[in-house]
């Protein structure tokens, strides 16, 4: 199955509040990775399940998440 979405988490901006983990309906973000500041931060653990809905990006208070969606179109 082709990938539907992708997120990029900026490790320098993430403060590890876990709001994105709470609101991801597909549960494809998880906590546990240690960031550059020495605190646990969010990381993209299940790239297959992501649909690119953008909710984690809206709800990130630190503007750390960029969300992309892949749209397949037939050639004209």
């Amino acid at each position: 199955m082709p990938k539907k979405g992708e997120i990029i988490i900026d490790e320098r901006l993430c403060k590890g509040c876990a709001l994105c983990v709470m609101f991801c309906s597909k549960k494809c973000i998880s906590m546990g990775k240690i960031g550059p500041g020495g605190i646990p931060i969010a990381h993209f653990s299940d790239p297959e399940a992501c649909t690119g809905c953008g909710v984690c990006g809206w709800m990130c208070p630190d503007m750390a998440i960029e969300v992309y969606e892949y749209v397949a179109r037939r050639p004209l």
Partner: protein
């Protein structure tokens, strides 16, 4: 023949162009979500070039200074008075003030109500986190009854500290007010509803209909001593029954 499908990669949600990143807020603070929301609305309405944002004191001022628009850092309290003056001097610019709850309900209550009575053509965004967040979470005018803060260790008691302050409901009956609403950002659905409220409030200023105020209920995980996940439950159970959501006034056209 194999039909080839072209896959395009669309940007759904991007990091806004803020001057100061990372923001100085605690982990899980809802202020960052609100500043991102305001930034998105300004970008969608193409107002960024003519906007001036008035910040006051407290945590709300940090975001106001970080946004990619012209900003003015005033003292704690008279954000509405500064915005009124600026709107009279520069009527073609888009002026909005960001205030905390203590700023609007306590020290700046006089200038807030006076600007609403005069019907100044400005927009006010209030951030209600039920405490004075920057100084350690003391009792604020908007603290709900029974909430424990460092200055009310037994919980807020109405005999001692009175009842909570409701800004939008207070000014909604005044004739100069065009829009008064309250929203939250604790769930994605509420966040999108609140974004629509901010957009409507900004349109009132562009249509020159009068004073518009939008209040946000936000979490303060550090001073509430709760995790960001528990804060959402606290807002649902304690804050929303005290501070009802929705639009209290929406004037569509000028009375004349």
């Amino acid at each position: 023949m194999i039909e080839e499908t072209a896959i395009t990669k669309n940007l759904v949600c991007k990091t806004p162009a803020f001057r100061l990143l990372p923001l100085g807020f605690c982990a899980g603070c809802h202020y960052g979500i609100i500043f991102r929301l305001i930034d998105e609305v300004l970008e969608e309405m193409e107002l960024k070039g003519i906007t001036v944002c008035i910040g006051g004191g407290g945590c709300s001022a940090m975001g106001a200074m970080a946004m990619d628009v012209d900003a003015f850092g005033g003292p704690h309290g008279p954000g509405t008075a500064i915005a009124s003056a600026l709107k009279r001097v520069c009527p073609d610019n888009f002026i909005f003030a960001i205030q905390g709850d203590g700023e609007q309900g306590a020290i700046g209550l006089g200038s807030f109500v006076a600007a609403a009575v005069r019907g100044e053509n400005i927009t006010i965004i209030t951030m209600n986190n039920a405490c004075y967040g920057m100084t350690g979470g003391q009792l604020a005018p908007t603290t709900p009854l029974g909430m424990v803060t460092p200055t009310t260790p037994e919980g807020r008691d109405q005999e001692m500290a009175g009842f909570p302050f409701h800004g939008p409901e207070l000014v909604a009956p005044l004739r100069g007010v065009a829009y008064a609403a309250r929203g939250t950002v604790h769930t994605p659905a509420n966040r999108q509803r609140s974004k629509k409220m901010v957009k409507t409030a900004f349109q009132k200023q562009l249509q020159r209909l009068g004073f518009a105020v939008v209040e946000f209920i936000c979490a303060c995980p550090t001073n509430w001593r709760l995790s960001p996940v528990d804060c959402a439950r606290y807002i649902e159970e304690k804050m929303i029954p005290e501070f009802p959501l929705g639009e209290f006034k929406n004037v569509e056209k000028n009375e004349g």
